[in-house]
Amino acid sequence: MLERSHVQSSGFANLGPEGARTGFRVRFRQPNYRGTRVSLMEGIDVVVDGEPFPAEQNRYLIAGREYGYAELDGLTELRWPVGTAIDILVEKPGGLEPGVHLVETVLRYRHPYFPPRFRPIPVQDSRHATIIF
């Protein structure tokens, strides 16, 4: 089972070989009470220790396949179920320093049954998480 927070402890890691890190990944559970088609999810902003990584520049690893931000809108038949996580892949040459970081996230969810002015609605979370190496 997953942790209560949207950002998961395990899975938070640097990407790329040691000494030549290309970025990091944030493992992120489905925060909604139901699973949805991925097309309803309009990306996830990440902020680490105050440094912003906007949704538009991140990539998304969903059910074993990587997608760019612009591709999300077309994923009407791919579903992100409750109780599962996706990885947000963030580009940052050198990666993150090993240690504890403050990770803030904002997912923009478009719920068709919400009044139009609340579409999308920002879903926020924030926690400390640890990069081991």
């Binding site: 089972m1 997953l2 942790e3 209560r4 559970r29 489905q30 009470y33 139901r34 699973g35 949805t36 088609r37 097309s39 309803l40 309009e42 809108d73 077309g74 009407t76 579903r79 179920p81 409750v82 109780g83 478009r110 068709p112 049954y113 919400f114 009044p115 139009p116 002015r117 609340f118 579409r119 926020q124």
Partner: protein, 309 residues
């Protein structure tokens, strides 16, 4: 004496617990221990590999129902009209979604399907494709004997064009397989606490319905003949079995006096700290069962008085 309510639990109550500290079996266990006979689920939350559960999951579903003696009641689904940023579903696509969920709900043993249509305004007017989509699947619903019941949910009150539109549809088609689900949140008469990021300005402008739209319970009389299922929404019940938002002491007698004998399916929507929902659902059942008992006893008493006179 009139008939009795049937008692159930919606697994929506255990949102955030399910998948983090609770599995499907624990959810059945907690629902069954309230004395419920019915279980309500959300298709796209509680059916593994929705919309195509595998044989192993189906076997488990039926085994859990048997073990915990819980009948499937209502299957909640969505018709996500605003499916892409710049594209809405057509009526044909909406009908395909409804057909998929009707078939799955029927396969799992459900009697009701609650589709949540996308909306076009602040009053939750459903996207206009709803009517064409539903009409296209009425024969299927009849064949499967599953009743389609969109919900009447705050901020939409009972006396409203949305409800009139649904009732007109029932009268025009003469169908027995379309009705209303009443969410008891429409009777809320005291405010909810602010959401995590809500400000007083937001509450005042756009979210005022969270202060409660306070529909008079007497208005249930207008729609009860079209209402085969009630989602018993609540938010917080304290140690004295006092509900802080929903006036059950008025809702229960109103339903009894109208002869309602369908389900009250508890739907907890409150603080999401781990395991809080389990206790809240139990308090809700203790409260509504107590009020039903009191109503029945008060109804019996005059009869006895007459008998001895």
């Amino acid at each position: 004496m009139s008939g009795s309510f049937q008692y159930g639990v919606s697994l929506y109550s255990y949102t955030d617990d399910i998948g983090t500290v609770m599995g499907l079996e624990e959810a059945f266990y907690h629902a069954a221990d309230t004395g419920s006979t019915g279980i309500e689920i959300l298709g796209e939350a509680h059916v593994e590999h929705y919309p195509e559960p595998n044989a192993a999951w189906l076997d488990r579903w039926f085994a859990l129902g048997e073990q915990y003696k819980l009948q499937p009641t209502n299957f909640a689904s969505w018709v996500d009209t605003h499916i892409q940023r710049d594209r809405n579903l057509t009526a044909e696509e909406g009908a395909a979604q409804l057909a998929l969920d009707l078939n799955l709900a029927s396969k799992l043993g459900f009697k009701f399907l609650r589709p949540k249509f996308g909306v076009i305004d602040d009053e939750l007017t459903p996207h206009p494709i709803w009517e064409g989509a539903v009409e296209r699947v009425l024969d299927l619903a009849t064949k499967l004997d599953v009743i389609i019941i969109p919900e009447i949910h705050a901020p939409t009150p009972i006396r409203h064009p949305v409800v009139e539109g649904y009732v007109d549809f029932i009268q025009r088609t003469g169908t027995k397989h379309f009705g209303l689900l009443i969410d008891t949140g429409i009777f809320q008469d005291r405010p909810l606490p602010y959401w995590q990021h809500e400000t007083p300005e937001m509450r005042k402008e756009a979210m005022s319905f969270l202060d409660g739209i306070n529909v008079p319970v007497e208005q249930l009389a207008v729609v009860i003949e079209y209402t085969p299922f009630i989602q018993a929404k609540f938010h917080h019940i304290d140690e004295q079995l006092h509900d802080h938002n929903i006036p059950w002491e008025r809702v229960v007698p109103a339903l009894k006096s109208l002869g309602y004998t369908g389900y009250l399916s508890s739907e907890y929507e409150g603080v999401r700290d781990p395991w809080v929902a389990i206790e809240q659902v139990r308090r809700h059942h203790a409260l509504i069962r107590k009020l039903e008992r009191e109503y029945d006893q008060a109804a019996v008493q005059p009869e006895m008085d007459n008998h001895h006179a």
